[in-house]
Structure formats: structure tokens, C-alpha cells
Amino acid sequence: MGVIKLNSYVLIIRGSDRFKFVDGLSTNKVEGDCCTVFTTTTAKVIDMVDVIDMGEFLALVGHNHFKNDVLEHMHKRILSQDIQIGDASQNNSVYLSTTDIEVTDSVTKRNTWRGWVLVTPNSELINETMDLQDFNEYRVMNMIPHQGYEITSNNHPLACGLGHLVHEAKGCYIGQEILARMRSRGRQGKQLVRLENPVENATTLGKTHSLAIVRTSI
């Protein structure tokens, strides 16, 4: 469908403990490129981030409105670990492309479950070919939750369509006990659904269908 610029931050995580650190604070197994979710002790979402392994450092790409919450979450848990955090948000722009497009070497491109995430230096901007309405239509069609719509601090990952980012066997992380209990007991309370319009309490409105988070017996 096209390319849209996301309102994203880019945090740089350096240090020998970078994988262990991010892995211990989020829902997915972090061993390289992946997408994972930072959650609170009550398993509510702090932010979903794309983890990009750049070799010497990790880049975390998340939603700008949640940056301070993520930073606070990480800061107080560095303790004695070898971790340095930098902020490259002002020097880079983040785009999401629904198709694989040609980019120059200076653009970091990763194929993710939402589409292709492109991190570009500000000197090399990419032409936006999709507006917010198109992007929302793409999300509704593919049941892709987004920060500020479905992915909010009111929801846990299983409720807002991020269950596939909750690793079942990785061991302890913040919020794991609650998420594991929900899964083992088959009670996640709410789930993301796509319904034909009109949809009451829709989280994302589409032309014919919309996304909503509804109570469920599952």
C-alpha cells in the first residue's frame, strides 16, 4: 500500500550486557533482530519496540509518546550492568513500508511482522506514499495493532494483539508471571478483533471493518 513516517524514537543500547538487559525486561526472546514488548509488573504495556542488532549496539525503535516511560523503566534496572543508553531519535527518521522497497546503504531496513521498518538518517528522507487513513486501513485489514490505538498502558500484550511477541519458554521477565498465568488458565480477559462496521468502541476505524478490543471468554 505504501510508506508512512512513524512518530518514533531510536534509542541506542551499548555494553556487553545489552542482550541480557533488554531480554530481562521484555516479553520476547532477545537474541538479535526481533520485536518485543516492555511490560510493567502487572503486565501492562509500556511500549512495543523493534530491536535492531547493529553489531556493536542495539537500536530500539518505539513510539515517541512512550519514550520517557521506557527510559524510566530501563534506567532504574541498569544497576551494575554494562549498559549505556544513547538517544539517536533527533538524527534519524523511522518509516514503515508495506512492501519491500529499494533503499540506499545508509538506510537500515528490517522485515518485521508489521511490514518493513526503515531507519534513515535525517539527511536522507523517504517519500511518504501512504497517509494515516491508508495506514489504518492496512492495519485493520491485517489486524495490526499500533501504539496509541490498541497498544496502550491500559492493555496487556495478549489483549492488544501482541500475543505472538510473548515468548512461552524464555523464563522470567517483568510481567511474565501474570502473562503465563493468563495463558495457562486460558483467561486473557480481552482480545483484539476485526469486526464489520459499525463497531462500538472501535480502537481503529476502517472503511468497512474496524479493530476493537473486546472482552472474551478465552
Binding site: 527510559l71 543508553i85 538517544d87 539517536a88 534519524n92 534513515t120 522470567c172 517483568i174
Partner: protein, 126 residues
């Protein structure tokens, strides 16, 4: 991504937690178990630290060490040399080290007045 830019990306200024002069206690049962673990070699020390992670955000870390690279404060508690990393001192002041003798979930336990909650297995806290 502009990696030259990333290299010079401004480091985020961290407000490091205040270093607290830690006091801690060891229960009689825990002393017995530590005596057994040390086997009389009091040149070693008990390192009581905190790691990030676990279900509740922080995990206790107990080790018997000769020395450590970490910036620690050294205490003498009931004849034991105890090392507490300064980076986690604010989370460990006032703790009691206990030993619970049971088949499942037994072992050393930390009773921590700073912990708002603990996870089910008792190894992590927030």
C-alpha cells in the same frame, strides 16, 4: 541508520540512585548454612547483589566470592565478610537473609523491607 550519528548520539544522563550505607542481618538458620558453605574459609565473602529482571523487576543474587570487580561496600556481619554493590545498595538496606528448609522452594531467602511485592517463587521483587 546513520551510524556515525549513532556513535555520537548524546548519552542520556542517568540519575543514579543514592548510595546507602547498608545494614543487614542474618538469621540463625542462615548462619548455619553459610558456615557450611564457607567450610571455614573466611577469606571468602558473601556477595549480596541485585540483578534486573525476574517477574517483578529485580532478582536477588547471592554468591560466595573471593573478590569482585563491582564497586562494593564491605560489611562484617556475625563474622561473615559481606559485600554489597553500591549500585544496588538502595534496594538492600535493612534486609534479613534467612534460610528456609523445605523440599520445594527451599534455600536462602531475602526478607526485604524495601520490596513492594515479590513474585511467586520469591526470587524477584519490585
Amino acid at each position: 541508520m546513520d551510524c556515525n550519528t549513532c556513535d555520537t548520539a548524546p548519552a542520556i544522563v542517568l540519575n543514579k540512585p543514592e548510595v546507602v550505607n547498608v545494614t543487614l542481618t542474618i538469621t540463625t538458620k542462615a548462619k548455619e548454612m553459610l558456615d557450611s558453605a564457607f567450610e571455614g574459609d573466611m577469606s571468602h565473602a558473601l556477595l549480596v547483589g541485585v540483578l534486573s529482571g525476574g517477574c517483578s523487576g529485580y532478582m536477588y543474587d547471592l554468591q560466595i566470592v573471593e573478590s569482585t570487580d563491582q564497586d562494593c561496600q564491605e560489611l562484617s556481619v556475625d563474622g561473615f565478610r559481606v559485600l554489597v554493590p553500591n549500585a544496588s545498595s538502595h534496594l538492600l538496606d535493612g534486609i534479613e537473609i534467612d534460610y528456609v528448609d523445605r523440599l520445594m522452594g527451599g534455600g536462602f531467602k531475602i526478607n526485604n523491607p524495601n520490596a513492594a511485592s515479590s513474585c511467586g517463587c520469591g526470587e524477584s521483587f519490585s
